[in-house]
Amino acid sequence: MLRGWVIVVVSFAYLGLLFAIAYYADKRADQGRSLIANPYVYALSLAVYATAWTFYGSVGRAAVDGVGFLPIYIGPTLMIALWWIVVRKMLRITKENRITSLADFVAARYGKSALLGGVVTVIVVIGIVPYISLQLKAISSTFTILLQYPEIVMPAKVGAVPPLQDTALWVAIILAAFTILFGTRHLYSAEHHEGMVAAIAFESLVKLLAFLAVGVFVTFGIYDGFGDIFARAAADPKLAPLLTPFEGVAGSYASWVWLTVLSMLAILFLPRQFQMTVIENTDERHLAKAIWLFPLYMLAINLFVLPIAIGGRLHFPDGTVDADTFVLTIPMAERQELLALLVFIGGLSAATGMVIVETIALSTMVCNDLVMPVLLRLRALRLAERADLTGLLLGIRRWAIVLVILLGYLYFRIAGEAYALVSIGLISFAAVAQFAPAALGGIFWKGGTRRGALAGLLAGFAVWFYTLLLPAFARSGWLPVSLLEEGPFGLALLKPLALFGLTGLDQITHAMLWSMIANVGAYVGVSLAGTQSAEEHRQASLFVDVFRRLPEGGGARFWRGTASAQDLHNVLARFVGAEAADAAFRAYAARKGVRWPDEPLAADAEFVHYVETVLAGAIGAASARIMVGSAVKEEALTLEEVRQILDEASQVVIYSHRLEQKSRELEKATAELRAANERLKELDRLKDDFLSTVTHELRTPLTSIRAFSEILHQDPKVDLAQRRKFLGIIAKETERLTRLINQVLDLAKIESGRADWHESDVDLREVVSDTLTAMGQVFQDKNIRVETRLPEVVPRVRADLDRLIQVMLNLLSNAVKFCHPTEGRIEVALAVEDAALRVEVCDNGPGVRPGDERIIFDKFAQAGDALTGKPQGSGLGLYISRHIVEHHGGRLGVRNRPGGGACFWFTLPLARGAPLAEVTHGEEESAHR
């Protein structure tokens, strides 16, 4: 009953249904009532991940090594957990930059590099071709098998069939035509292929239902539930190992891990996944639902894989039936015609979905990132001057689709037979995994450079080619097998399957290990070694900091040049058509509040940037850059300028924060410098004054001495009383002179650190009372009342007795000088503080002028200056005293008393540098002495 024509008609009917869905969805989109703008359709469309590989191949794999097929679905689940971080960022970047494909994404990130886009495209095409061939193989072989119904006969080797009788070729041609119909009716590819997405979502439902139907039929129809199947498997010595597949195989955990990693990367970087997840996404929020719905889909479609595999092995124990076909052959063997047909349609769904999305994505890349940049640069074609290029663009895309599918067919003819479905798919997975460093690095690491990305991609791709693709060719007989067994030129170290002698891993694990080392190493190494151009630096910032909102038209600020709105319109119209160009202009004008075309649009940087972004949506970032560049006169920004703008724009917060901090620091430094300068000036002035003062102080006694000497010398008639008086003056003035000279010498010694200190145990109470006694006459002469508060005993301190007396005398004579002229009162107090002795000498004079508290302890400073215009003393006393006190580890200071008058105080530590216990002990000891 299942004649060939029935199958063909059903197949075409199914494809027609898909097309109808797509057509309807497109219509709805045009009316603005999008069919796909909901998270469930989005999640289902992501299930394009499940291809013929999943539908047929997983069972094939499970029939050989049990749960070994699962990493391909668990890996994505793990990666999807990170989607909220990774994919959301990609979505934002893609939308803001109107990115059209994975190649565009990478190219745009690294300075809109056309070269990089081209390299990515080539790698993708070469890498994905085996994957497409896998789908062709699946469709054609299942078709062939189904034709033989009810017999179960494996299809003949393809090599034996002439191409024109080969179903796979016809499948390829039909798929190409269908894809062209589907994907290239519209040009404006940054808009969504709504029809395609709707059709793919429908296909995802069909393949899931078909697979579940088979699963239920096998598990519950043929056998008696899961327990029954597994019990039978466990009883069969050949099947039992499938249930504990890791047993005793060293490499199998490693291969499990690497498969997981590989599929984690594949879910991001397979062109069709990137297309569906990122490019076709209509709303960022849909991601949230997809994050758990899509893994759930994968779980569901894998639930029955192992039961079907075991069922197949039990059903066809002799091994003549390819395990990859169990899904189809079991229903056939059970004479379930409709189920078999449903399975075929499910498989067809899985395969066509993959081929359609994949080739559309690839054709966009080939057109935008490979062909157009080259054509635009070929001046001979004068392409940039042609009026309408929309036809050319569509043509390129259509031919790209045909080319990619035919390449897939070619690979199928060359290498398709040597591998099972899953192995072919994994080769493609490994190829797209090479984009991970450049793409992931590109959105999280600003330091990645164009050269780094290029080096990483090429290195990784070279290793992939050498370790995976070459062996595939060799096994198919296109290259000598000796290459695999002995290595090129007999160099065993370079054996493609055991590079540098690494053995014991399966082929994929081996290839991934080496290609990732080469890729990441080259990417990071070259990036770190080189520098970025201005454009690269700017794009890196736009990508990495995409969530840091730039001001409106932020990207435009990196452009400087002149253009006319008409030129820009012409450029845009050439690629997207005059109508779309008008629409884009109107949209921009509306945003700006301009009634275009009645009013002119200013072709400023923001507008040029807008046109470039719109154009990028049609022909990719790299090409758009070239085209807009041809229409405007652009002035190159220097790297420095761009950096400057960037710092302003995207790092404005950090930067201004730093700036504030810096300026605060600067202000502080300036203030400090100013203060230091003031201080230096002050010191300089003081020094000048000092010299003048010292001169004055020396000359004043000298004047008296000389005058009286001359009088006595010249005038013998001076009477005795006068003579005595004059001689007395001479003696006093001489003394004064001596004192001054001593002070100056003291000062010199102390300042140079050459003073001699004679330390002994000193009783400070004695020092105070002795000096008071010594000054007694002065107090009496000036009618000064002295009050003392001294404790009975104080601990002795280790100090230079003479110097302490000097300090006390200085403070007391200062007090005498400044205290009230007629009712002078001086209070002297000695006290034991925490670990020090404190002496205070207070007068009832005018006090120290506020602000002078510090300066009076400086050399040459004279409080008297300020008070009377006349210095009273040399200005050295307090300075020397301070040095003496500080030498003993104490402090000397002054405070004004509330009622008027100044209190000079100094402290002497009881034990310098000794612990407190010792101090207490010393106190007691000295107290009993």
């Binding site: 001169t695 004055h696 000359r699 004043t700 215009g869």
Partner: protein
């Protein structure tokens, strides 16, 4: 002929004593002021022919006294001799530019000082 009167302005009692003795011995009438303000008052009161002026004094320094004396209506008549321990060129120049007739640095030669005062007052 009446005795010429000299006003001694200085805050160092010992120097005042020496000057008083020297001038009296040379036949001058002597008045004393201990600071700048007192000096200005003494000039009003005593009408001296010559002022011996110290610079570094309490309240009003010698330069200021000199300047104010020269601002008086009969300011030109009075002779001013600055007698200062400040001996730098700038100090001397400043004193003379403010109208002092003579600038003598301390310590001075008593013979020379008396001779110069005599010359200024046109005695000999």
């Amino acid at each position: 002929m009446a005795k010429k009167k000299v006003l001694i302005v200085d805050d160092e009692p010992n120097i005042v004593t020496a000057l008083e003795y020297l001038l009296a011995r040379s036949g001058y009438e002597v008045a004393v002021a201990e600071d700048g303000e007192a000096a200005l008052a003494a000039v009003e009161r005593e009408r001296p022919d010559l002022v011996l002026l110290d610079i570094m004094m309490p309240r009003l320094n010698g330069y200021e006294v000199c300047r104010r004396l020269r601002e008086r209506p009969d300011g030109g008549a009075i002779k001013i001799v600055i007698l200062s321990a400040k001996g730098r060129d700038v100090d001397v120049t400043k004193g003379l530019s403010l109208g002092a007739d003579l600038y003598v640095t301390k310590p001075f030669s008593s013979t020379e000082l008396i001779a110069r005062i005599g010359a200024l007052l046109g005695d000999r």
